[in-house]
Symmetry: C2
Subunit: 517 residues, 2 copies
């Protein structure tokens, strides 16, 4: 349908006008990261057509281009979950208040940000024609919380599924929307409604639940590093950063270009907390009766934020080939219909060859947009490779190939494209990871006194590797003074005697501090 | 993990107990369809592990086995949507009341079944320790409706996306949960929360929007018939059965085994109603300014109900191979470990051969469940083909192959399985459709007077093909007297002079009446 409309448009005099509008939009440069990182991010998200704010406070619209990237993440994660024995299911959006409050710590942690359904009907407003009002007669006996997370509703369900050790383990994941009424929201990073997956597993032994917690944290790390090209640090949260209701929260922490950390995924060992709150017991293999052990874990559309702030530049989005909805775009450079037809023949050939190798290629032969604008647009949208073909290239049997990550160009013989491009996409995927890893490594700074701590935090940013006395008081004091929190105690942290960077009290290992999203 | 636990279990004395529990559960027969169809349905849904009621009134839990079937539907539909140029996106769960009421007919149609969020915070209840209450100070300025459908929030968004004909068409689909506060609910068929996809498209011309409406209704029919093996009748709804806010509602109607119809999908031509309500205008190619033309369309987890009530029998679920999470199950019949090992060798070979052909095969060598119980369980769950292998089969180089749809058994040489089974799965897929089609064809009864209408409706059920005078009054009167509604005016309905079956007034075509889910 689109093609028809465009060719019709060529015959009208609106074309130039639209070109101009187009040009105006596209030539408006992004704010530079060095000028205002936060502004750069917001502009990029909307101008690259990833997402936008909606009419509902704090809720976003994920646009098709952004959603296509999220779908690729979903597909890969889903495959990994299934390969490790998990199944998908679906639990209700609403949690009755009485269930919600059953696990006290969990309830306390989320109560302040709950959207609450109190009524089930609207009626005509007698005072204003054509307007509706909440029907006071349709008040619910018990209020329903829109799930901020699903432990409560799920454990209330598992209670009926589990009698004996033979019913265990239960390894379930759910793809869902959740709502947390955040006061200050930002697209992808912190929204009132977001999309995520939440795994909820039930086990017969503590060891098995802990193994699951680690399995998933490692699975997340593998996914984020090898699929999204974002290096992460695996570790454990301190008590004050723990998920409400968890015994241990494991996490993966990434570092953004502006030196702030971003929690990219969490895997919680819940102990028997929820089993106790919901009275879920099982007959053990040895004839006893025990509470079930649990884990829960999730990643969300927040990963889109991590993706953007790890790889992108002042020209726009930079996408790892694994996540790019368009991996290669072909743009013809021509004058007149005849040249276009010649170029199109070659372009279609190339497109076919690459498609046959499973590469997502787009040929953009729109006649109403100039090549330069197309270049800008695909740069903004992070398409990893761009092929340009002009009349001279035809003569020479070559194309111009541009890499989005390095912004470098080269000429490549047409017949080599089908072999060079798959290799190049792999190379880009790796190069992005390596670049991000180098940045991350350069931004882990050991500090041993509080003055250096503050200086490095403010001047260089990144992770500060510092001794901490293990108390919540010190953690809180540091947070108040510097806005830095303990991101995690890394798995790799070695035992090492030292003095707490803040209190001077003894400490036996370093932890990672950072300002964080 | 599961394997380990089971082998551990073998050594304990709990095995027999559990076997007995298992036996008790499984030998409890389903209610027969002829006794109580509705009870049969409810039992089947829960006992085949498809879904169950939750703690939230009217909301269901979709269990892993049921969800695996829904995922297969989703994957196929998603492929079809993308192949016809549609993209996925995501819009907010909440609709501010003022947007919700903008399209008056739509608002009126859904107002009475809306879950409404009025507050965004809970707080500790000072009167009851450990309990929470809605914080009266966290009342929203404007109430939020949990989307019963997303036209309002989406058209409010499209408003900002559309300036010129060049921005059209917009072809977007969303996979989402929606909430309609139904008073009488039934698993899959009518639940307060359900999962669905909703397409929302915007077009420059009436013709294009109408083409889209038809394209999708045909796509739905193709999917339901060829993938789910459920025959449907394509048609148009009468005004009183139309979607609230639509100009025309197209639909596909299926017939259940008990003679009641089920609306399996709808595709709405919305005209310019939503564009007018949300003031969405575009610069036309010829320099004018016009309101945008729209469609919306959806299918939901209700299709699970249609699936169950089209194919299943008194033994349980019958699944078309396309939708079966397990297409072939292999059950060993043995005494002692040695026999099991011999059989397992062959079973694994068969499993490998079939897996290589893309068939989902499960080998069930659980030692704590007797073959008969396994047979019952896989029958209950609708697994299309069951292979049993005993010691005699090993000697003869054969297996026993049982078809779930016909409950027939035969012996097949092992070496023929890899060719016979793929063919057989196709045959079953077709046979299920043919059987359902025959039933449907036998249950379309032309009736020409109201006495026959009532008699056929009550004694035979199914669709009644009858003349109707075209008025909503007659439709309403018939509905009141018989509970039958006009399911659709079929695309294939021919012009034919006649007299309305109820009023005796002139009519120029037959329509299809039925009682419906």
């Amino acid at each position: 349908m689109q093609t028809k409309i465009i060719s019709f448009a060529k015959e009208t005099n609106l074309q130039n006008t639209t070109d101009k509008i187009c040009a105006k939009n596209m030539s408006k440069k992004l704010t530079k990261r060095s000028e205002d990182y936060s502004k750069w991010y917001n502009e990029l998200v909307t101008r690259a057509d990833l997402a936008e704010n909606s009419a509902v406070r704090g809720c976003m619209v994920i646009k098709p281009y952004g959603f296509a990237i999220w779908e690729k993440m979903q597909a890969e994660l889903d495959k990994k979950f299934k390969a490790t024995g998990h199944q998908n299911a679906y639990f209700p959006l609403f949690v009755p208040k009485s269930l919600f409050e059953a696990e006290e710590k969990n309830a306390e942690g989320f109560a302040k940000e709950c959207a609450v359904v109190t009524h089930y009907r609207l009626k005509n407003n007698p005072d204003e024609k054509g307007k509706l009002m909440v029907d006071p007669e349709a008040k619910l006996e018990e209020e329903l919380v829109v799930r901020p997370t699903s432990e409560a509703i799920i454990w209330n369900t598992y209670k009926n599924w589990i009698q004996s050790y033979r019913d265990l383990p239960i390894l379930i994941n759910q793809w869902a929307n959740v709502v947390r009424w955040e006061m200050r929201t930002r697209l992808f990073l912190r929204t009132a409604e977001f999309l995520w997956q939440e795994g909820h597993t039930a086990h017969a032994t503590e060891q098995e639940a802990m193994d699951e917690t680690l399995l998933i944290n490692n699975l997340y790390a593998d996914f984020v590093e090898n699929f999204m090209a974002i290096p992460v640090i695996k570790g454990v949260k301190t008590e004050s950063e723990r998920f409400a209701g968890a015994v241990e929260t494991h996490c993966i922490e990434a570092l953004m270009q502006d030196g702030k950390a971003l929690q990219a995924g969490t895997s919680h060992f819940l102990g028997q907390n929820f089993a106790q709150a919901f009275d879920v017991k099982f007959a053990t293999a040895t004839g006893g009766l025990d509470h079930v052990w649990a884990t829960s874990w999730g990643v969300s559309t927040r990963l889109m934020g991590a993706l953007i702030m790890t790889h992108s530049d002042d020209h726009g989005l930079v996408l790892p080939p694994n996540l790019a909805p368009i991996q290669v775009v072909i743009v013809p450079i021509y004058k007149g219909q005849e040249q276009l037809e010649e170029i199109s023949k070659v372009a279609h050939q190339v497109q076919e060859q690459l498609s046959a190798k499973g590469i997502a290629v787009k040929y953009d032969d729109r006649d109403n947009v100039k090549p330069g604008l197309k270049f800008n647009d695909y740069e903004l949208k992070g398409v990893p490779l761009r092929i340009a073909i002009g009349p001279k290239d035809l003569e020479k049997g070559q194309v111009e190939l541009a890499r989005r990550d390095t912004l470098s160009k080269s000429f490549v013989p047409q017949e080599e494209l089908a072999t060079q491009i798959p290799a190049l996409l792999e190379e880009i995927q790796e190069a992005l990871f390596t670049r991000a890893l180098r940045f991350r490594e350069e931004h882990i700074t050991p500090v041993d006194d509080f003055e250096s701590f503050q200086k490095v935090l403010n001047e260089k940013g990144g992770f500060l590797s510092a001794h901490w006395d293990g108390t919540a008081e010190t953690e809180e004091a540091i947070k108040k003074k510097t806005k830095a929190t303990i991101r995690c105690i890394p798995y790799t942290s070695k035992e090492e005697s030292g003095l707490c960077v803040y209190s001077g009290k003894p400490s036996n290992q370093r932890v990672l501090f950072a300002k964080a999203y």
